[in-house]
Structures are given as structure tokens and as C-alpha cells.
Symmetry: none
Subunit: 198 residues, 2 copies
């Protein structure tokens, strides 16, 4: 987004503005909910011109997607490069259990930025987004690594269907099922799915 020929000072300025805008947006999302955040407010809180905000992110969706990208980057790093059992180094079944547990915890955490933003995106777009695809690939790969027979791609979709906002919001918010019970169900599903079939 930065003008390629800008001076070092201009580039530093642009980076500072970007960080300020994302920080302001994150704060407003946390305070008022993603659905109530306006471009005007973000620019005001960041102390940056509205023109700069639009130039940098295109529109409100662009800003929210950039924010989602930042929020997801941390989680993605944790499950691809972080400490076991979520990250590499633990047996694939333990990693699967940890992944779903972490995912459900994030979804159920009211303050989780990624979850709040994800809810603003239509199910189909979320599924087909980089994040949605990365989740599926991760679960599918781990299932394959456990050595269990089966249609790993479809089984990964089936496991993740339980951990989507649609299911967990209904159960956690709508039916008051505690997060711990949802997480225990995920672990149980993983165990049943990864044991040798008769």
C-alpha cells in the first residue's frame, strides 16, 4: 500500500499510521462490538485522517479483514510453530485435541477479537477464507498423521462442523452448555475418530 518510492521517513510514518488505525479499530471492536464500528470513529480515535484510513484499507470490510488477519496470525503461529501440544512436537492426536480445545475456547471467549470479527463474515466466506482453509488443512493433516484409515478430508470437515460459530454459539450462548463440556466433546470426538475402526 505504501508508495514504493517513498523516503524512509515516509515509510515509517505510514507504518505508524497503519498500526495506530488497527489498534484503534481493535479497541473499538472490543468496546462496542465489530458490528458497531464505523470508519469515522476509527479515524477519530486513531487521530488519523479519514482519507488515510480509506486509502490504506479500501473500505470497512477491508479494515475488518486486516484486523482479522492480525488476530488470526497469532493463533496460527501458536498451532503451527508454538509450544506443544498445540504446536509441533506432540503426537498428532494430542495436537488435534489441543487444537479443538483452543478453537472452542476462542469462540466462546467474548473478548476474542478473531471470533468477534469472524461472526461478521458469512459462513460460506468464512469456510472458504484463508483461515477456514488453514483450519481444515491442519485438522486433515493431523488426522492423516495419526495413521487412522478413512476419508481424512471429510472427517476433518465433520470435526470442524462441531467447532463452528453456528454450533458452539447455539450450544454455549443459546443452551448454556459450558465451554468445558464442548471441549470435552471435541476431545471425545477426536478419540473416537482416531481409534482403529472395527
Amino acid at each position: 500500500m505504501d508508495p514504493p518510492g517513498g523516503s524512509a521517513a515516509e515509510r515509517a510514518d505510514a507504518a505508524r499510521n497503519r498500526a495506530r488505525l488497527l489498534e484503534a479499530a481493535a479497541r473499538l471492536v472490543a468496546e462496542h462490538g465489530a458490528e458497531h464500528v464505523t470508519m469515522r470513529e476509527v479515524a477519530e480515535v486513531a487521530g488519523v485522517g479519514k482519507g488515510t484510513l480509506f486509502r490504506r484499507f479500501g473500505d470497512r470490510d477491508g479494515l475488518l479483514l486486516a484486523l482479522l488477519g492480525e488476530a488470526e496470525a497469532e493463533f496460527q503461529e501458536a498451532y503451527t510453530e508454538g509450544a506443544p501440544p498445540l504446536g509441533p512436537g506432540a503426537p498428532p492426536r494430542d495436537r488435534l485435541e489441543a487444537f479443538g480445545g483452543a478453537l472452542i475456547e476462542r469462540i466462546a471467549a467474548d473478548a476474542d477479537l478473531g471470533a468477534a470479527l469472524g461472526r461478521q463474515v458469512l459462513h460460506e466466506r468464512r469456510h472458504a477464507s484463508d483461515t477456514g482453509r488453514a483450519f481444515h488443512q491442519h485438522v486433515s493433516n493431523l488426522l492423516r498423521e495419526t495413521g487412522v484409515d478413512g476419508d481424512h478430508d471429510m472427517l476433518a470437515h465433520a470435526l470442524l462442523a462441531f467447532a463452528t460459530f453456528e454450533t458452539t454459539d447455539y450450544l454455549h450462548t443459546g443452551c448454556e452448555v459450558p465451554v468445558e463440556r464442548l471441549q470435552a466433546t471435541w476431545v471425545d470426538l477426536v478419540r473416537r475418530t482416531t481409534q482403529a475402526t472395527i
Copy 2:
């Protein structure tokens, strides 16, 4: 919804209006698709006042859910009283396999009225509807009947999460996964879920 103290004539009138409104709604759904049906049109076609329509069904979702209930009655009869393996008489595991197979087949069938209507209703209300609850109760009961240990209620939610419109539409329409593969995955899930855990 009827005034409890109404006369026999008033009750008969109310029942006639209800049937007319549902008939009109079903015709409009078949002709124009559920997403294009408006309350105004339904009232006009039925020759019933718009106020009566709203009083009886609350809102558009309420009307579509009532219509869904009628469309579902046939399917419900098949899995509660029909021939095995969908109906009673077969072992619970076979009935579970048949139930999901039938459910996925209906969801993937373009012409299925229940599926067309279900898609128009918000996920959360569909889950909490009589139909959604009946599906969950049925799967949960059959899981219990297989004698398998576990949190039957949550496992039933997990199995059904794979058979929701959100998941199957994404996979079948969005990713071109054949219905047979979705059905095979359901059967596989049921087998893994109902075998004794280690």
C-alpha cells in the same frame, strides 16, 4: 394462538384461515422460491387480512417455520413410524446410519420443500425449532440405545453439525462433493461414534 374462550365457530374459522395461509405460502414457495415470499403476497393469495397473518405466525420466520413443520411431518413419520431401517425394528446403529443418509439426501435434493424452507430460517432458530429439536432427540435416543458410553446429547449435536445446511451446502454446492461421499462420511462417523471406546 387461538383465544381459549372462542366459540366452536370461531375456532373453526381460525383453523380454516390457518390452513388457507399455509396453503398460499406453500404455493408461493413452490412458484417463486422461499426467499422471495413476502407476508403481503401470502395474505393476498390466501384472501386473509395481513393482520391475521401476523397475529397467527408472528413474523415471516414464524410462517416459514410453520410451513416447515408441515413439510417435516412426512419425514418425521418415516423415521418414527415408517419401515426399517429408518423406522423402528432395525438395530439403533442401522437406524442412525439410515437417518443421516436420508437427511443428507433431502438436503441435497433441490426440490425438497423442507430443505428449501429450512435454508431461509436463521441457523439458531432452526436449531431451536420443533424440527431441530426432534432431529436431535432422535439421534440422541438412538445413540443411547446402541449402549455406547458417552455424552449422548453432545455427540448427537456433533453428528448433526455435519448434516446441517451450512456444512452440506458448502461441501455439496460449493466444493462439489457428491452426496454419496457425504452420506458415506455420515455412516463412517456413526460407526466410529458407536463403537466401544478404548
